[in-house]
Amino acid sequence: MGHRLGDIELILTPQADGAIWRFALDTERLPSFARGIQDEGGQLLALWGSDDRHLGAGYAVHVAFLSSVGLVWTSSALPADNPSYPDLAAIFPQADRMQRATFDLLGIRAEDAVDSRKWLRHNAWPENTYPLRRDFAAEPTRQLDAYPFIRVEGDGVHEIPVGPIHAGTIEPGHFRFSIIGDRILKLEERFGYTHKGTEKRFEGLDLATGAKLAGRVSGDSHSAFAWAYCLAVETATASAVPERAVWLRALFLEIERVANHLGDLGYLGNDAALTFGFVQFWRLREDWLRMSAKLFGHRYLFDCIVPGGVAVDISEPGKAELNALADRIEAEVHELKAIYDEHAGLQDRFANAGIVKPALAARLGLTGLAGRASSQAWDARAQFPQAPYDQLDVNMGTHRRGDVLARAEVRFVEIFESLRLIREILGRLPAGVLYAPPTRMDAACEGMGWVEGWRGPVLVALRIGADGCLDRVHPHDPSWQNWPLLEVGTLGNIVPDFPLINKSFNLSYSGQDL
């Protein structure tokens, strides 16, 4: 099918409901293509590589671009010796860490990149060895991670190193603050501590086990990742999924969104010294989780989405119970919102803290919930709706302020919208079976899944080998592109506001450490 993107004529191969398009691109044309996407207002969502030598090729670099026609997945073949491609971070700065990680894991280099420091590698494997290469067999090194932080110097500048083990119950990572007095001059992040070799683990797994692992890339986004993974499998194998299962998947995704937003709104209250907010929201969240356990057998709906469909159903009495709880939570969240709106102390802390202005958000590729709070009006459910969202008319929540207040506000809007969607799904749930086994292909095949998780767009790209097992899987969490905006959003703020600002983004470590 022909399509125009700016002044580029594309022959695209449609995948998954026409929301995703595949395009083989010469490496040299990557930058001009990326600029074309940028000129028409698009973004770079993900960049990763693959070792294709066992398929008689070299390596490949893959990019997922968000554009006016949907998601464009480009693949560029690279030679087996000295694989490299032109730097894209000069065009899309969010590519920086993804390019560095691709080098750490595969030894594929972005030529002329400004920042070529390591990113995911600390000391689990030595320099010049690459875990995602097929012939990787290195042993861990015993050196300490010597990472060259960028230093800020001058009179009265101090450094505060925080982490990797943090003071609260949060994931591990390192934050290096350079401050004058209480003001933050610079924040630099160092991640990769929870690197679990997730992508390597996928290699050789059967499709069902792969879904379980995908759901655990970032535990708080289980349904988003599991669904994206299953979509990728089903696209690759051209398998049809029963309608009831498709609707139940959306039900699970919206339940997950509500659970996370309730928790975050509670913590935002807590971090602004309103413990009342924490207690109330976490009471509601616990009611919500217990309902999931009762109806679907797991508080976080783990392993409910499987390749080919879903593993659990909902009964008529179950629907009534879930509807009733959705009604109660909606009413209570309205009450709590009235309190948050009127609480002068809370508003004072939320407003103007951690601002990311819309222009900067667009320039650096802020995405998902945080993006929408900075006028980046992208929501795959609304703009490129795949079933069942094509029949649900999702209302996107956006805000212009780009501060903690805006990110809290978007969460409120999205809770109400998700509760509406949940009731709508329950009311219109088609009858039928829950599962149809994916088609068994004779040759290697590839596919991609794209799901708007609670944090933002979640992608899974994969290749299934001729033996029917997973050959290469790349899961992408939106935290990749949003973490650098936390660095920018905290500039000029005071150190004591950092926890609040950080919480308002609530980004994943495990999801980007992989």
């Binding site: 600390h122 000391n123 689990a124 494997w125 875990p131 990787f136 290195a138 861990p140 300490l144 991670d145 990797p164 083990i165 003071a167 609260g168 119950t169 949060i170 994931e171 591990p172 990769g192 501590y193 929870t194 690197h195 679990k196 070799g197 997730t198 390597k200 683990r201 379980k212 692992l213 655990r216 890339v217 970032s218 535990g219 708080d220 289980h222 928790g263 009342f276 207690v279 109330q280 976490w282 009471r283 969240r285 616990e286 989780l289 356990a293 508080r299 976080y300 783990f302 009450e335 709590l336 009235a338 309190i339 009127e342 609480h343 002068a344 994943s508 470590y509 495990s510 999801g511």
Partner: protein
């Protein structure tokens, strides 16, 4: 006025805390040599330091949930601390990633004796079916890196199961 609305909501909500569960002694990895002395020292209060040694963050969700009003852990004397130096017990999640091995050991060393370690989650316990086991990037269960007293399996274990494991570690029965 926010104050008025808050008071109204508190009054309407009432007390939702539930009674504490019993210790699940089956979760112990070995017979503990606990002296009445130690229990006397700690009395009824227990300070916990949580360490994410490489988890997917699923286990953390349930530790957070434990802090919610239904479980009322502070009401039974359990409190989470920011520093291992203030802790009696380390609650460790995740398969231990190689990138956190040193940090985990150092945190353990920084915790004063006597101390307990509770490893939680299928990954942290090395339970069958754990999605993250040993490979180039992870060492595997927590017990491979520091001594563990109690293991609480589950993916993730529920808040009640975590509390039962914590109580099993510190109850001298």
């Amino acid at each position: 006025m926010a104050t008025h609305l808050i008071l109204q909501k508190i009054f309407k909500t009432g007390i939702v805390s539930e009674p504490q569960p019993a210790a699940d002694l089956a979760l112990r990895t070995h017979e503990q040599q606990l002296h009445a002395e130690i229990l006397k020292v700690f009395g009824q209060a227990l300070v916990i330091r949580h360490i994410d040694a490489g988890s997917c963050n699923g286990c953390e969700l349930e530790i957070h949930a434990l802090g919610g009003p239904y479980y009322n852990i502070e009401g039974i004397g359990v409190k989470f601390a920011a520093s291992p130096r203030h802790a009696d017990l380390l609650l460790v999640t995740g398969p231990v990633s190689r990138h956190l091995e040193t940090a985990l050991k150092r945190t353990f060393d920084a915790t004063p004796e006597p101390k307990w370690v509770v490893a939680m989650g299928d990954c942290g316990c090395g339970a069958a079916g754990a999605m993250f086991g040993p490979n180039y990037a992870t060492i595997g269960p927590v017990r491979e890196v520091i001594p563990v007293d109690v293991e609480v399996p589950g993916c993730p274990p529920t808040p009640t199961a975590i509390l039962q494991g914590i109580l099993a570690a510190v109850s001298g029965k």
